[in-house]
C-alpha cells in the first residue's frame, strides 16, 4: 500500500501494461485532471466520478456568464469553482477538477486549496497524442480554438510532467495513450489514519519515555498478561478480553530502558495487541538512526546509548517501526481520535504536513518560555469537536477531561505517574513512577496551571450558543435551534439566569390535550387519555398540578462538582433559569431541604453528593405577586365595579318598560363570571415571608451523581417525594396521584372523577404522564406529560368571560400541534443536558442543550397553551 498519508516522495504510477491493477485514489483528495483541450477529460470524469464530484471549469464558465466558452469569464469561473471545491473539501469529500490544468500556475492555486483543507493533491494526466485532441476539437461545433492552442497546451503539459511531484502532488497517475485512458480503473483508499472500523475496547497509555518497569506494572493493572522471550524480556502483552493498548507516542528518551519499552510495544503492535502513534521523540530518533545530524538533548543521548547495546537488526526494526507510524488515528466510528500532541477538529482524519506537525508537536507558537520550553497554545480549551481526543506530550499532574479531550502524559519519567484511559469506559488507571528518572526542566504541571489561569475551559464561547445551532440528542436525534430564537435567549441567559455552570436543566414546556368537544370545557382528561392510547400506552399516571411556580432545585454537598465556592449549596431556579431567592434565602431553603434529604436517607442510598429535582414551588404569589396584583386583581377590580353597575342601570330600564333584550341576562352572567374569576386568582395569592409559607412539591428526582433518573417510573419519583414529606411535612408538599389503566373505562372514569373533584375544589388541574417516565410511543418519543387544566382555573388564562358560548366557540380554535412538537424538542434537550452533565461532559456541551430549551421558549407561540 502506498504511503500517501505521510510525507515523502510522490508515487508516480505509469500504466504500462494491459489488465493492470486499479489505480488508487485516497479518500481525502483533490484530484486534478491534467490534459489539453480535446483530451477527453469530461468524458473520463463522467465515467469514473459521481455527478457532484467533478467540478468542470467549462460548467462554471457557463454558470457565471451563460457561455461555457467565454474565456473572458475564466477568472470569475475559477473563483466560483474554488469556492465550491473548498466547501466540499471542508466536508472531506473527494473532489475532481475538470480543467486543462496544464500550466503550473493554475495547478499551484489548486494545490494550495488542497493544503488549506489538509487533503492530498492528486493528478491524473491524460497525455494522449496531440493529433487526437486536434481531431476531437475539430468535430465540435461549440469550440473555436485552432490547432495552435492545442499544441501550446500539449507542450505545456509535456514540460509539466516531471515537475508534478515538486509542485506538491502526492500521487500522479499518468495515462499516456487512448487505450490506457480507456482501461483505467480506480479504487478509493481510506487514509492510513482512518481506522474507524477499530472499535476497541482500548487502553490508551500516555508518554512512557523508557519507563519499562512502570509500563509492565500498568499493563498488569489493566489486566494484560506479559509474554516474555527466551531471555525473559517482555515482547508482547495479551488481554484475556481482547482489549488493545494504544501507545500515544514518546516511548523513548530520558528514561532507563527505551529498548525494553520498544521491544514490548513493537511486539504488541506486530501481534495486533496494540496500536501506536508516533511522538516527537520517535520522529527525532528516526532521523538519528538514519544517520542524520540531530541534537541529542532532551534524553535522546540516553536512548542512543541504550540502543548501542542492541543488535543492528533491532535498531533497523526500531527505525522502520517508528518511521511507519501514522501521525494520528481515527477510531471507533470516528468517536475517538488519538495523536501524540492532540489534534484540532478540522485536522482529524486529514493528511498534510501541518496535520502531522500538529499531531507530533502540538500548536506551538515558535516562542519559548522562561524554562526554554516551547510555548504551546491550549488548543484543548477551544476544542468543540464531537470526537474524544486522547493525547500526551505535555506533562501534567493529573489526567483530566478538558472539553472532551484528555492528556495522559502524567510525567512518569519525571517522577509523576504513568496513566492509561480505558475506552469506552473513560476510566483512568495509573501507576506511580518508581523514582524520578529525569529532572524536569520546569516544575511538573506548570503548563496545566498556566493554562487554567489564562483561560478557564468552563468559560463559554459566544458561538457555542449564537447562530443556528444543532444539538444532537440521544433520545430524539438532531434538534435545530433557530438563529433568531438563540438571539432572543441570549439576553435572558446572560442577564437573568443563574451561572451556566449551575444550570444543568430547564424543564420543557407542557402541552394541553386536544381541545375538548364538550360544550362548556376547553380541556378534559378524556382527550389526554386518548392521546396516550394512540401512542400505544396502556398505563398512565395522573399527578395533581400544584398551584405554584415550576422550580428546578439543585442541592449539593460538593460545590467543587459545580465549580462553586465552598459552602455553596446549590440553586433554586425558575423555568427560565432565574433564581427564585437571594443568596441568603437560597441557602436557608437548601439547608432545610438537605436536612429532609438526610432524614430520608437519600444521600447514602443514592450514593451521591448532589440531587437535581423537578418541582413546584408554592405559593405562586412568591414569584407572581406583582402579576397577580397588577394584572389579575386590577382586571377583577374593574370588572366587579362596572358590571354590577351596568346590571343595576339595565334593571332600572327594564322595569321602566324598555326592552333591553338579552343584554341584561348577558350582563348578569358576565358579572357572575367576574366574581368566579376573582375567586380563581385569589387561590394563588398566599402570604409568604422569607421561607415562612413557602413549600416545595418535588415530583421528579431528575438526576444524582452518575445517574439520570428520567427513565425511572413516576411511582419511584413520587415515593422519594413522599419520604421527603415524611421528613419535613411543613416544608415539603406531597403530590397526589392516581394511576390509570387505559384499557379499563372504569379506571378512566375514576381518574376523571378525581380531576373533577380536584378542580371543583379550586385546584388547577392535573398532569397525565406515562407511568414509566421517558417512554417511546408508536411514532416517536411520547409526550412527557399532558396538562389538563380545570374550568375555573382557565378563567385567569382565557379571561373571566371565556365560558360564554360565543367566546368558547372561538377559543376552541387553538393550535396544539406546534406546542406539542415544541414540548417534545424541549424535553429532548433537557434530557440531553442531564445526560451530558451526568457523564461529566464539559460545561459548554451541557450549556448548549440548556440554552436550546431557553431559545425554543423565545419562539412565538400562544402563551395560553
Amino acid at each position: 500500500m502506498s504511503q500517501h498519508t505521510e510525507p515523502g516522495s510522490p508515487e508516480t504510477t505509469v500504466a504500462e501494461h494491459a489488465a493492470k491493477p486499479p489505480l488508487a485514489l485516497p479518500d481525502m483528495s483533490l484530484v486534478l485532471l491534467v490534459g489539453p483541450s480535446g483530451s477527453g477529460k469530461s468524458t473520463f470524469a463522467a465515467k469514473h466520478f459521481g455527478r457532484f464530484e467533478t467540478l468542470s471549469s467549462d460548467f462554471f464558465r457557463g454558470l457565471v456568464s451563460n457561455d461555457e466558452n467565454d474565456q473572458s469569464a475564466t477568472a470569475a469561473a475559477f473563483e466560483a469553482l474554488k469556492h465550491v471545491a473548498g466547501q466540499r473539501l471542508r466536508k472531506g469529500l473527494l473532489t475532481v477538477i475538470d480543467a486543462t490544468n496544464v500550466q503550473p500556475e493554475s495547478r499551484r492555486s489548486l494545490v494550495e486549496l488542497a493544503r488549506e483543507h489538509d487533503v492530498l493533491p492528486v493528478a491524473i494526466v491524460l497525455d494522449i497524442p496531440e493529433s487526437v485532441c486536434v481531431e476531437r476539437n475539430a468535430q465540435r461545433t461549440d469550440r473555436t480554438f485552432g490547432a495552435s492552442v492545442i499544441k501550446r497546451q500539449h507542450d505545456q503539459l509535456r514540460r509539466s510532467l516531471k515537475h508534478l511531484g515538486k509542485e506538491g502532488f502526492r500521487k500522479v497517475h499518468l495515462l499516456s495513450s487512448e487505450e490506457e485512458v480507456a482501461e483505467a480503473r480506480f479504487v478509493r483508499e481510506p487514509l492510513l489514519n482512518d481506522r474507524r472500523e477499530e472499535r476497541g475496547p482500548f487502553d490508551a497509555i500516555g508518554d512512557i519515555h523508557g519507563c519499562r518497569s512502570e509500563l509492565e506494572t500498568l499493563l498488569g493493572k489493566l489486566g494484560y498478561e506479559l509474554v516474555r522471550d527466551a531471555e525473559g524480556r517482555p515482547v508482547d502483552a495479551v488481554h484475556p478480553e481482547g482489549r488493545r493498548v494504544i501507545f500515544l507516542g514518546d516511548l523513548v528518551d530520558r528514561g532507563p530502558d527505551a529498548p525494553g519499552v520498544l521491544r514490548l510495544a513493537m511486539g504488541m503492535v506486530r501481534a495486533g495487541h496494540a496500536l501506536a502513534v508516533p511522538g516527537n521523540h520517535e520522529a527525532k530518533l528516526v532521523r538519528a538512526l538514519q544517520g542524520k545530524k540531530v541534537q541529542t538533548s532532551h534524553g535522546l543521548a540516553e536512548t542512543l546509548s541504550q540502543l548501542a547495546g542492541e543488535t543492528d537488526e533491532f535498531r533497523a526494526e526500531v527505525e522502520r517501526f517508528c518511521r511507519e507510524l501514522v501521525s494520528h488515528l481515527v477510531l471507533d466510528d470516528g468517536a475517538l481520535v488519538v495523536a501524540h500532541a492532540g489534534l484540532i477538529e478540522k485536522y482529524q482524519g486529514r493528511a498534510s504536513g501541518r496535520v502531522r506537525s500538529f499531531a507530533l508537536y502540538g500548536d506551538t507558537t515558535g516562542e519559548t518560555d522562561e524554562y526554554g520550553l516551547p510555548v504551546r497554545l491550549p488548543w484543548a480549551n477551544e476544542y468543540r469537536g464531537d470526537a474524544t481526543v486522547l493525547y500526551g506530550h505535555v506533562p501534567t499532574l493529573e489526567a483530566e477531561w478538558v472539553n472532551n479531550t484528555m492528556c495522559l502524559d502524567t510525567g512518569c519519567v519525571f517522577g509523576g505517574k504513568l496513566s492509561a484511559l480505558r475506552w469506552p469506559e473513560r476510566e483512568v488507571v495509573d501507576v506511580p513512577a518508581e523514582q524520578v528518572w529525569y529532572e524536569p526542566a520546569a516544575p511538573l504541571g506548570r503548563a496545566a496551571q498556566a493554562s487554567v489561569d489564562e483561560r478557564d475551559p468552563g468559560l463559554l464561547r459566544i458561538d457555542d450558543v449564537l447562530g443556528k445551532q444543532i444539538v444532537e440528542t440521544r433520545v430524539f436525534g438532531k434538534v435545530g435551534i433557530r438563529e433568531d430564537a438563540a438571539a432572543g435567549a441570549l439576553e435572558v441567559m446572560s442577564r437573568f439566569a443563574t451561572d451556566p455552570r449551575h444550570l444543568v436543566y430547564l424543564p420543557p414546556t407542557m402541552s394541553p390535550p386536544a381541545t375538548s368537544k364538550r360544550d362548556d370545557l376547553l380541556e378534559h382528561p378524556a382527550d389526554a387519555f386518548e392521546a396516550y392510547r394512540r401512542e400505544g400506552l396502556g398505563q398512565v399516571i395522573c399527578e395533581e398540578k400544584h398551584m405554584g411556580s415550576r422550580a428546578v432545585v439543585l442541592l449539593t454537598r460538593d460545590p467543587g462538582r459545580f465549580d462553586a465556592p465552598d459552602g455553596w449549596r446549590g440553586v433554586v431556579h425558575t423555568r427560565t433559569g432565574r433564581p427564585f431567592f437571594d443568596d441568603a434565602l437560597t441557602d436557608a431553603f437548601l439547608t432545610r431541604l438537605d436536612a429532609a434529604v438526610s432524614a430520608a436517607g437519600l444521600w447514602d442510598e443514592l450514593d451521591t453528593s448532589w440531587l437535581l429535582f423537578d418541582a413546584e414551588l408554592l405559593p405562586w404569589s412568591l414569584k407572581a405577586g406583582p402579576i397577580i396584583r397588577e394584572q389579575y386583581a386590577s382586571v377583577g377590580a374593574a370588572a366587579t365595579a362596572s358590571l354590577p353597575a351596568a346590571v343595576s342601570v339595565l334593571e332600572r330600564a327594564a322595569s321602566a318598560g324598555i326592552d333591553v333584550g338579552d343584554l341584561l341576562d348577558r350582563t348578569r352572567r358576565r358579572s357572575e363570571d367576574a366574581s368566579a374569576y376573582v375567586d380563581a386568582y385569589r387561590r394563588y395569592a398566599a402570604p409568604s415571608q422569607g421561607l415562612e409559607g413557602v413549600q416545595l412539591a418535588p415530583f421528579q428526582l431528575l438526576a444524582s451523581e452518575g445517574a439520570s433518573h428520567l427513565g425511572r417510573e413516576h411511582a419511584w419519583h413520587l415515593d422519594i417525594a413522599r419520604r421527603l414529606v415524611d421528613a419535613d411535612p411543613d416544608f415539603i408538599r406531597a403530590t397526589r396521584s392516581v394511576s390509570v389503566d387505559l384499557t379499563d373505562p372504569a379506571s378512566e372514569d375514576a381518574a376523571t372523577l378525581w380531576w373533577e373533584e380536584l378542580t371543583g375544589a379550586g385546584g388547577e388541574g392535573m398532569v397525565v404522564k406515562p407511568v414509566a417516565g421517558l417512554t417511546r410511543g408508536t411514532k416517536s418519543l411520547a409526550q412527557p406529560g399532558i396538562k389538563v387544566r380545570g374550568r375555573e382555573y382557565l378563567r385567569i388564562i382565557y379571561g373571566p368571560d371565556y365560558t360564554e358560548t360565543r367566546n368558547l366557540s372561538r377559543l376552541r380554535d387553538r393550535d396544539i400541534g406546534h406546542k406539542r412538537s415544541m414540548a417534545l424538542r424541549e424535553y429532548a434537550l433537557g434530557v440531553e443536558a442531564i445526560e451530558r452533565f451526568v457523564a461529566g461532559e464539559p460545561t459548554w456541551r451541557v450549556h448548549q442543550a440548556v440554552f436550546g430549551v431557553l431559545a425554543m421558549e423565545s419562539e412565538p407561540i400562544d402563551p395560553r397553551l
Binding site: L459, S494, Q631, Y632, A637, A641, I658, V660, R682
Partner: protein, 483 residues
C-alpha cells in the same frame, strides 16, 4: 364601559332630543371598538337619564390586529381590563354615538343646545393613571363638581391598596356638548394608553374637542401630551396651535408613528424613575466625554463598546475619525437594531460601514471577534452583571479578548449620600445588581490587574466631592507593565 348622563332641567326629557336617541327603546350601534347600547333607565320631565354601555369583545380584542397598535403587551392578553374599564374605547364610542350632540348643533332645539343644563354624569371604573387626584385636577377647572371614588384592588387584600380605577360622578351646569367633549378628551388622557395607532388627525380631533376649554386648562400640557400618546413632534404642533401659532398648521411635517414606541419609552422612563437624580448637567454626557478622553490618551484606533445599548457612545466614536475600527456589542438584538438606526447605518457609505460593526454578544461568553483590540469600553455595564458572573466577564474581556486597554465606568456608591431622594442602601437604577464604593472598585480592579497582567489608573467623572468623590468612577486598565 358604562356612562350615564342625567339632566334635571325642566322638561328634562328634552335631553333625548339633544342626544338624538329615542327614549322609548334600547338601541345598538356596531362600532369599531365593540357594540354600544344606548337606553334610558328613566325619562320623565323631572329627570332624564341616558345610559351608554359599551360591550367590548374580549376574544376579538386579542385576535384583531387593529387593536394591537397601542399597548400590545396588555391587549394581547385575554385577561384584560378593556371590556370592563371606561377608557379610550369608551371615548371613541361617545364620539361616534353622540357625534351630533358633541358638535353642539341642534336645528330643532338651538337654544337648548347652546345653553347649560344641570347635568350629572357617572362613569363606571374609569381607568385613571394618576388616581382620584388627577381626575379632580382635570375636571374641576371645567366647572364640574367631582366625586371620584377609588376602587380597591381586592377587598380581601386591603394591603394591596387601590386599583387605578375610580367610579366617577360629575355634577354641574354645563352645556351637553361641552360635557361630552370633556369626556371624549379626558377619558383617554386619564387612561394614558391609547388602544389605536396615533396619527396626525389626532391633533385635529383634539383641537375640535378641546375648542373653548383646552387652551386655558391648567393641565393643558399633560392633557396634550397624554392625548397624543407622548409623540413629541405632535405634542409640539398641538401646543403651537393652542398658542395660536398658525405656522405650525403644516401637520404633514410630523409622521405617523406607532403610539406603542412612545408608550414603551414612557414605561421604560417610569421604570428608571430612580435614575432621575443622576441627570443634572447630564452625567451621561460627562461620562462619554471621559471615556473619549481616555481613549484619546491611549491613542486607541480599534475600540469595542461592550454593552453599547442603543449606541449613545458609538455615535461619539463614529464622529472621531481616529477610531478606524469601532465595534458595538450588546446582549439585546433589539438594542443593536436601535443603535443601527441611531447611527443611520442603512444609509451610511461603505466607508462608514467598514469602520463599524454591531455584534450581538455577551460579556459572560468568550467572543473571538473581540480579540486583539486597542481598547474595550465597559461603560456602566459591570453593575448590571451579577457579582457571581464577574469571573466569566473578567475571563472573557481581560483573559480572552485581552485588549491593550480596558476602560470601566461604574457608579460610585460613596457619592449616593449626595442624592437626597435616594434612600440609603438603595441603588440608582432598578437593574443595578450592586453599586461599588471607591474602595470596593479599587479592590476589584487590583485583583483583575494581578490575575490578567494589567495596570490601572483611576479617574473621576462629574463633580468631585472632597469626601465622597465623583458620581461616576472610571478605571483605565493598560495591559503590561508601564503606564
Amino acid at each position: 364601559m358604562l356612562v350615564t348622563l342625567t339632566s334635571t332641567a325642566p322638561e328634562a326629557s328634552n335631553l333625548s332630543h339633544l342626544l338624538r336617541k329615542h327614549p322609548g327603546k334600547a338601541q345598538v350601534f356596531d362600532l369599531s371598538v365593540g357594540q354600544a347600547h344606548v337606553f334610558y333607565p328613566e325619562a320623565n320631565d323631572e329627570r332624564c337619564t341616558a345610559a351608554m354601555m359599551l360591550e367590548v369583545d374580549p376574544v376579538g380584542l386579542v385576535r384583531d390586529k387593529r387593536f394591537r397598535g397601542g399597548d400590545a403587551s396588555t391587549l394581547a392578553q385575554y385577561v384584560n381590563d378593556r371590556p370592563y374599564a371606561s377608557s379610550s374605547m369608551v371615548a371613541v364610542a361617545i364620539g361616534q354615538v353622540f357625534r351630533t350632540a358633541m358638535g353642539g348643533r341642534s336645528d330643532a332645539f338651538p337654544e337648548l343646545a347652546a345653553g347649560t343644563l344641570p347635568l350629572t354624569v357617572t362613569v363606571a371604573a374609569v381607568s385613571a393613571r394618576g388616581g382620584a387626584d388627577l381626575v379632580r385636577q382635570l375636571f374641576e377647572p371645567l366647572g364640574w363638581q367631582v366625586d371620584a371614588r377609588p376602587i380597591a384592588l381586592d377587598p380581601e387584600h386591603p394591603e394591596w391598596g387601590d386599583s387605578r380605577y375610580v367610579d366617577l360622578t360629575l355634577t354641574g351646569d354645563i352645556r351637553l356638548s361641552d360635557a361630552l367633549r370633556h369626556l371624549y378628551v379626558l377619558l383617554p388622557v386619564l387612561d394614558d394608553a391609547k388602544h389605536y395607532w396615533v396619527s396626525d388627525d389626532e391633533i385635529g380631533k383634539l383641537m375640535r374637542a378641546g375648542e373653548g376649554w383646552l387652551a386655558e386648562h391648567p393641565e393643558r400640557d399633560l392633557i396634550t401630551r397624554r392625548y397624543l400618546a407622548h409623540q413629541r413632534g405632535m405634542v409640539g404642533d398641538a401646543e403651537a396651535l393652542l398658542d395660536g401659532d398658525a405656522s405650525a398648521t403644516d401637520l404633514s411635517a410630523s409622521s405617523d408613528v406607532a403610539a406603542g414606541d412612545a408608550a414603551a419609552g414612557d414605561v421604560a422612563a417610569d421604570g428608571r424613575a430612580r435614575a432621575v437624580q443622576e441627570r443634572s448637567p447630564s452625567l451621561a454626557r460627562l461620562r462619554a466625554a471621559a471615556v473619549l478622553q481616555a481613549l484619546s490618551d491611549l491613542r486607541a484606533h480599534s475600540v469595542a463598546d461592550v454593552g453599547c445599548g442603543p449606541g449613545a457612545l458609538l455615535v461619539h466614536l463614529m464622529a472621531e475619525p481616529a477610531f478606524s475600527r469601532v465595534i458595538g456589542t450588546d446582549v439585546s438584538a433589539r438594542a443593536l437594531e436601535e443603535a443601527a438606526r441611531r447611527l443611520n447605518l442603512r444609509e451610511a457609505s461603505d466607508r462608514v460601514r467598514d469602520r463599524i460593526q454591531l455584534l450581538q454578544s455577551s460579556v459572560t461568553y468568550q467572543d473571538s471577534r473581540l480579540a486583539g483590540l486597542d481598547a474595550i469600553v465597559l461603560m456602566e455595564v459591570i453593575e448590571h452583571v451579577d457579582a457571581a458572573r464577574h469571573g466569566a466577564l473578567e475571563a472573557s474581556v481581560f483573559g480572552a479578548a485581552a485588549p491593550a486597554a480596558v476602560i470601566v465606568t461604574t457608579p460610585n456608591s460613596d457619592y449616593n449620600a449626595l442624592y437626597p431622594s435616594l434612600p440609603a442602601g438603595e441603588f440608582r437604577h432598578t437593574d443595578h445588581r450592586f453599586e461599588w464604593s471607591r474602595a470596593e472598585f479599587e479592590a476589584w480592579a487590583a485583583s483583575v490587574c494581578e490575575r490578567f497582567g494589567y495596570t490601572v489608573e483611576y479617574r473621576t467623572v462629574g463633580d468631585v466631592d472632597a469626601a465622597l468623590g465623583s458620581p461616576t468612577q472610571l478605571a483605565l486598565f493598560r495591559k503590561g507593565g508601564q503606564r
